[in-house]
């Protein structure tokens, strides 16, 4: 799945309080690539990810997926796109602590209306891939940070996405767990050809990516291989 941004701008606020987060960003991400979006806080890197992931819309410019302008998609089609084609990993995990690990991983399938039995099978398989099969019945709140992020990876994987968006995936983890999570992500990228788009300010992590997009003041400062 090719993701392409052409002169994308994004403006927040109104009149006197206008803040331009993206000032005409253009690039292309090929199927199966791993790309890091790097920049200081406020550089617009998170905004860029949100626009690419169809969580937010660009104010001008075009984001296209396999040549199709996603701003022309209906809200329902965008929902389905995020559900089926995209996987999300967040710094703060966003797991439901009261529910079991399995329930958390099944959430995207529940949203898509997958039958209960298939949901469970696929969630268990996803948990196997992040090596957490034995924790399926545990409450998510009782896991360690590293385990939680692995659950999030399983949740992102469960719909067999084409692209995984990871927003500071190692931000809340110690270096050992961080490495574990990074290895897992790159394994998936290589073994399954899932495109990785990682937003980070961690240079170490960024170096592991095939390409790096440096953001500065809402502009793309540099693209490095």
């Amino acid at each position: 799945m090719t993701l392409k941004a052409q002169l994308v701008t994004k403006v927040y606020g109104k009149k006197s309080n206008v803040f331009t987060a993206l000032k005409g960003v253009s690039f292309e991400i090929q199927d199966g690539e791993s790309v890091a979006i790097i920049g200081k806080s406020g550089s617009g890197k998170s905004t860029l990810m949100h626009v690419l992931a169809a969580l937010d819309h660009a104010d001008s410019g075009v984001v296209s997926l396999n040549g199709q302008d996603i701003s022309k998609f209906s809200p329902t089609k965008l929902d389905t796109l995020r559900n089926q084609q995209f996987g999300f990993i967040f710094q703060q995990f966003f797991l439901n602590g009261r529910e079991s690990v399995l329930e958390n991983v099944m959430l995207p399938l529940k949203i898509s209306g997958t039958p209960a039995r298939e949901r469970k099978e696929r969630a268990l398989y996803a948990l196997e891939q992040v090596d957490l099969s034995d924790k399926a019945k545990n409450k998510a709140a009782n896991l360690s940070g590293g385990q939680k992020q692995r659950v999030c990876i399983a949740r992102a994987l469960v719909t067999k996405p084409s692209i995984i968006f990871a927003d500071e995936p190692t931000g809340n983890l110690d270096s050992e767990n961080g490495k574990l999570v990074i290895n897992l992500l790159f394994d998936l990228n290589k073994a399954k050809g899932i495109t990785l788009i990682i937003v980070t300010h961690d240079i170490e992590l960024a170096r592991l990516c095939y390409r790096r997009l440096y953001m500065k003041d809402g502009k793309l400062a540099e693209i490095k291989r």
Partner: protein, 424 residues
């Protein structure tokens, strides 16, 4: 998201903060409980009235009386010329129906039977083989009402000298149980036109249960009434009646209005169907129960704010979760439904618990009432909880809860996933 999953998820979310949910549910409970019981009271009274006042579904039977003309002595009106062909009555003087009127009514299209509704005054009643006399106020003519009987049968058109005895006369007359009185001979004492006491022999065909409306109501056939009336008032009095009872060949409810119109236009008559007579009393009962139901509705109205409040808090608490679900592709409509269903479930559980409690209460109250203030009215069940009552209470409350849930649900469905996820 599938409907089943929405309901299941909503129900699980309710259980998250059990105290808050149970408090909201108890507010609903109070309204639902009140509403169920007032409905049950209405149904109980309605059921009793229907049995006491006869078969409401006896269409095609009408009471016909001369039309009252109250303008005769209205402040500005001058006395009118006397017209022998026109019967004019007023509040002080009720005109009578005559045989001429009966003949007119008989000719109305579709009429099968016209019977006079006579009233006579009586003095006493005594059992055939005993001499002690019991006082007796009035006796009623045969109507098509389905009386609530303890024994025996109802009157028939062809009956001669048949009587239906009220239950409270059994013991004074020396009958051990209702069935003993059936086929027994009784004598009715009355004063003739010249003031002499006369007796009339009749046979008991049925015994009527006690009821709320009248104490000791006797029902006798028309043949007997006519005979007594002739003795009491001479030939002329016997030919004047309070009303005529008209029965149509077609006894379907749909034709009632048309039949009523036909009778009304046959002369200067006021026409009242049996159904309307019962309906008049039913209206009083419904007015009372509606008033009580209003209390329940006000409680529900207050409770609906509890639902709004609870769900709004829930939306704020779950902002991130909602944001995540939307980011993961949940449609706005599903988010809306999730909260709307949650509100409806509050209503559902509240009404279920309330109905169960109301059912228990009704059993207790009915048992108590049957042994205390309703002791004499054996066919009166004070509180009757019908399936219609149950379903309408659940339906109404779930609808109110849904409406209350729309505000929080819209709020949740409009959350922007990025803002929701970003909020710390």
């Amino acid at each position: 998201m599938k409907a089943f999953d929405i309901v299941r998820t909503a129900n699980r979310n309710l259980l998250r903060s059990k105290l808050r949910t149970s408090l909201t549910i108890s507010a609903i409970f109070i309204g639902a409980f009140t509403l169920t019981l007032t409905n049950a009271l209405g149904d109980g009274a309605q059921d009793y009235l229907n049995r006491q006042l006869g078969n409401v579904s006896a269409p095609g039977v009408f009471y016909v009386v001369p039309k009252l003309n109250d303008n005769l002595f209205a402040s500005n009106a001058e006395p009118k010329e006397y017209d022998p062909a026109k019967k004019e009555g007023n509040s002080f003087q009720t005109p009578s129906m005559t045989n001429d009127d009966l003949n007119i009514l008989k000719k109305v299209e579709g009429v099968e039977l016209v019977r006079p509704y006579r009233t006579v005054s009586t003095e006493y009643i005594r059992k055939g083989d005993q001499l002690n006399k019991l006082s007796l106020s009035a006796i009623n003519p045969y109507t098509s009402l389905n009386l609530d009987l303890a024994a025996g049968r109802l009157l028939k058109t062809e009956d001669k000298n048949a009587v239906i005895l009220p239950e409270n006369y059994l013991k004074p007359l020396g009958f051990a149980k209702p069935a003993d009185a059936v086929n027994a001979s009784i004598y009715l004492g009355y004063r003739s036109a010249v003031g002499k006491i006369e007796e009339y022999k009749a046979t008991v065909v049925g015994v009527m249960k006690k009821n709320l409306v009248t104490e000791g109501e006797f029902h006798v056939d028309d043949y007997m009434l006519q005979k007594i009336a002739q003795q009491q008032g001479g030939g002329r009095a016997a030919d004047q009646f309070a009303a005529a009872i008209v029965t149509f060949k077609d006894t379907v409810p749909e034709k009632e209005n048309e039949q009523k119109q036909r009778l009304g236009s046959a002369g200067s008559y006021s026409v009242l169907s049996l159904k309307e007579q019962v309906a008049t009393i039913n209206n009083v009962v419904s007015a009372i129960t509606t008033g009580l139901s209003l209390v329940g509705l006000i409680a529900l109205f207050a409770a609906s704010f509890g639902i709004i409040n609870t769900l709004l808090m829930s939306v704020y608490e779950r902002t991130k979760e909602i944001g995540l679900m939307k980011a993961l592709g949940m449609h706005r409509s599903s988010v809306f439904l999730l909260f709307a269903v949650e509100a409806m479930l509050v209503g559902f559980w509240g009404s279920i618990v309330a109905i169960a409690a109301a059912y228990g209460t009704s059993q207790f109250v009915n048992d108590w009432a049957a042994t205390s203030f309703l002791k004499d009215f054996e066919s009166f069940t004070l509180l009757i909880i019908t399936p219609t009552n149950v379903l309408s209470v659940i339906g109404l409350i779930m609808a109110i809860a849904f409406l209350a849930g729309t505000l929080p649900a819209i709020k949740a469905s409009r959350l922007n996933p990025i803002d929701a996820l970003r909020s710390e």
